[in-house]
């Protein structure tokens, strides 16, 4: 059940009505049943997987709390880590490992008898695995007590608005909200609906229309010249943002209607003036997770190896996104970007002072924003490509020039209407993001003139109705 489907359009209000009509003490049950139904709408078997993960972590949490010695607690933590990461590995990385072994052996002219495993990746497994891991690690560290109520804990793992593509919530932030009494709040319902519609606009109008162009270029990159490849790289960078942040808006909006506050996940990342800043604003909950549970513990062990850990963490972050060497490369590029950024920070500032551009703060900031966006777009080639070969091929052929218009008119599904939808919706998204720096949950809050705000609302609604792509795809982050 996609957020941009009729099923969800009916599902959410029905659940909201049942939720608010039910007595407070049974509301968790309504949300739990809804969450499992939501997840099972992809495949019924998925419910077993998430239930296993939930049970293991609930048990590990309770058992850890009963132990007074750290060493004994560790046994349960390790069990939880092994089972959760084992499931993640089996479903997400086993096939990748299998293919890598095959390639290596074939290079050495050795036969590899194991065929393709064709393991189906359960939707959202990376998200809920990280979410449950944060819970057990928090208990191990003594940052929180275990959740005694199995139903509430199961709801924390499976809460439908953020189940399949984040935000990755901490138990300390989400679980107390399931206990709190929620009343029907019309302002919240209106705000939540606005956020859902804005998310739909970003995904279905800008993201999906760009996705058609991107699809053509990345399906057969060798058929295009450098200029088209550059357009493809920038187009995908905007598409992935609209797709991921659009999903987050819809998730936050859906939860808001139910009186639950989810974490912010995207904070205008393309207005960042460095890659490090961009990662602090891009998929914030996963970056925070990696910082809290991976990078900082590694740093505590050995501070001298901090640069190595930095790159390593980004490689892992890249691999978290997908099982493929191109994702490893994507992570590696970002690790190196940040490493080089840190190592040259002082020198760059000094250089700026020496040549006299440091005083033009707006100019240098805008230049840095543009440069950061360009670097991100370059790395994103690896993110979208079908493999490492395509990644290198595209990166190596970016500056070969070539035709643009004739290539675009050769694309049967990409026409003037798509270009119109992209250009006008881009202006709106850019304008909203540029002006709204503080209130991420109310994208239209900076438009003070009522009639202008209503024009924008109407435009958003009619653009969704008119320029949505009929064979709209699933959200890009679902595959992770």
């Amino acid at each position: 059940m996609l957020f941009n489907s009729l099923e969800y359009l009916l599902f959410l209000p029905i659940i909201a009505i049942i939720f608010f009509r039910t007595k407070q003490k049974y509301r968790w049950l309504v949300l739990l049943v809804a969450s499992y139904l939501f997840y099972m709408s992809w495949r019924v078997e998925y419910a077993i997987l998430i239930f296993v993960s939930t049970t293991i972590d609930y048990w590990a949490g309770i058992m850890m709390a009963r132990q007074s010695e750290k060493a004994k607690k560790k046994k349960y933590l390790v069990a939880s880590l092994l089972i959760n990461l084992g499931m993640l590995f089996s479903f997400k990385y086993l096939d990748f490992l299998n293919e890598t072994v095959r390639t290596l052996l074939n290079w050495n002219a050795i036969d590899y008898p194991v065929g393709h495993l064709n393991i189906l990746l359960p939707v959202g497994i990376s998200f809920y695995t990280f979410q449950t891991l944060s819970y057990t690690i928090d208990i191990y560290r003594g940052d929180r007590d275990p959740e005694k109520h199995f139903g509430i804990f199961a709801l924390y793992v499976s809460f439908f608005p953020q189940l399949v593509a984040g935000p990755i919530e901490r138990s300390t932030a989400l679980i107390p909200q399931f206990y709190a009494k929620a009343c029907v709040n019309w302002q919240q319902i209106v705000d939540g609906t606005k956020l859902i519609v804005w998310g739909l606009f970003k995904k279905m109008v800008l993201g999906d229309n760009l996705g058609i162009l991107v699809g053509y270029i990345y399906t057969d990159p060798q058929a295009y010249d450098g200029n088209m490849l550059i357009i493809g790289a920038f187009a995908f960078t905007i598409q992935i943002y609209c797709d991921a942040s659009g999903y987050t808006d819809m998730a936050i909006g859906s939860a808001k209607i139910l009186g639950i506050k989810l974490s912010d996940n995207f904070n205008r990342p393309y207005f960042s003036s460095s890659i490090a800043q961009l990662w602090r604003r891009w998929h914030i909950t996963i970056t925070d997770w990696v910082n809290d549970y991976l990078f900082n513990p590694l740093l505590k062990r050995n501070r001298k190896a901090r640069y190595f850990y930095l790159v390593l963490v980004f490689v892992i972050l890249g691999m978290w996104h997908g099982a493929g060497w191109q994702f490893v490369f994507f992570g590696l590029i970002h690790g190196l970007y940040i490493l080089v950024g840190r190592l040259t920070d002082k020198r760059r500032k000094k250089l700026a002072r020496n040549i006299g551009v440091a005083k033009w703060k707006t100019l240098t900031r805008n230049f840095n924003v543009l440069l950061t966006f360009t670097f991100f777009a370059f790395a994103s080639i690896a993110f979208r490509s079908d493999g490492l070969y395509d990644t290198f091929w595209i990166m190596g052929n970016l500056f070969t020039g070539g035709e643009v218009v004739s290539h675009i008119t050769d694309m049967p599904q990409f026409n003037a209407s798509n270009i119109f939808a992209i250009s006008t919706s881009f202006i709106l998204v850019y304008g909203i993001e540029l002006t709204n720096k503080s209130d991420l949950r109310n994208p239209f809050s900076k438009i003070k003139t009522t009639w202008f705000r209503w024009c924008i609302y109407s435009m958003v609604v009619f653009y969704i109705l008119t320029f949505n792509v009929s064979n709209s795809t699933a959200f890009y982050y679902f595959q992770f």
Binding site: L6, W186, T409, Q413, N415, A416, F420, W454, T466
Partner: protein, 316 residues
């Protein structure tokens, strides 16, 4: 703040906004009704059929190949009811409507078979959806394709906002330089380019269609059964294509394992049906084609004359 004080201003705002949306919706809806629907080829053809006399000797149905190959004014008492991108599924519903809900008395019904005739759109066919609403039972079709919700969604979307697709069409027409150019066979200089053009057409179709679909085949069988039920005679025609298209189609079929195993068995089991194969009729006569598998005006003229004679001989 009391509940009523809190809700009332918000309720007013929401009602005003809904009012504004309805106003814009009505303007767009009437603009579509007035400028869009009445000018579309599909609706015009429907109108032509309504005014056609009730007895029709030859009704041509199917996708764009018969659509482009038949000039029904050259064949006595014939009507070309084919439309672009029409799969067997859509043909079935159109015919069902004609046979069961109109007074049209049809003698022979002519369907296309051959290369890419048993396709099915991967997604609900949104183009001119408002037109198809009249014919298709989307609940039944959605159930047959196990995509009930998707079809209900598309149906609702096109019923309430038929202008959506029209606006896209208008934009594409106004800015043809930025829209997909289908090109023409006559513009292509050499055989190599013509061959490449044929491959591109099929590859583009493969993006949006299942080339051989079991559902399409089952609807084809239902169509034949429907004709039998209403005592209508059926002719199946393999329409003329270029040699490039045939070669490209066969290569891609074998490459991608798209061959439909059951098709030949089904065709050979149809006893009361006449099958004519004209696929090779104009091999080497590229001047008669608009592209690799659609005839142009000259081709339409020549083929319609040819078919007229053939039909006269057949019926006598």
């Amino acid at each position: 703040m009391s509940k009523s004080k809190y809700i009332r201003p918000l309720g007013k705002k929401v009602i005003r906004f809904i009012g504004l949306v309805l106003l814009i919706h009505s303007i767009l809806y009437f603009a579509y009704e007035f400028f869009g629907e009445r000018n579309s080829k599909l609706f015009k053809n429907d109108l032509r059929l309504d005014t056609h006399r009730s007895s029709i000797d030859f009704l041509f149905m199917g996708h764009s190949r018969p659509g482009h190959a038949i000039n029904d004014s050259l064949i006595p008492n014939a009507f070309n009811f084919a439309s672009n991108g029409e799969s067997n599924i859509y043909t079935y519903y159109k015919l069902k409507y004609l046979l069961e809900q109109t007074d049209k008395d049809i003698n022979y019904i002519v369907f296309p078979i051959g290369h890419a005739s048993f396709f099915d759109q991967k997604n609900p066919y949104i183009v001119n959806h408002n037109y198809w609403n009249k014919y298709i039972d989307y609940t039944e079709l959605g159930a047959a394709k196990s995509e009930r919700f998707k079809y209900i969604q598309v149906n609702a979307q096109s019923t309430f906002t038929p202008y959506a697709h029209w606006i896209n069409q208008v934009l594409n027409r106004k800015f043809p330089k930025l829209s997909h150019k289908k090109g023409g066979l006559h513009l292509l200089a050499n055989n190599e380019k013509k061959q490449a053009h044929a491959y591109t057409i099929i590859k583009n179709n493969l993006e949006s269609r299942n080339y051989f679909s079991d559902i399409s085949l089952s609807y084809f069988k239902r169509t034949i059964a429907l004709c039998e039920k209403h005592n209508k005679k059926v002719i199946l025609i393999r329409y003329p294509i270029t040699s490039y298209y045939k070669e490209a189609s066969e290569t891609l079929i074998s490459q991608q394992g798209l061959n439909h195993k059951g098709l030949n068995t089904i065709l050979s089991s149809l006893e009361k049906v006449t099958i004519w194969d004209f696929e090779n009729l104009y091999f080497g006569r590229d001047e008669l084609f608009k592209d690799a598998h659609h005839m142009n005006a000259a081709g339409r003229l020549e083929f319609s004359e040819f078919l007229k004679t053939r039909l006269e001989n057949f019926t006598n």
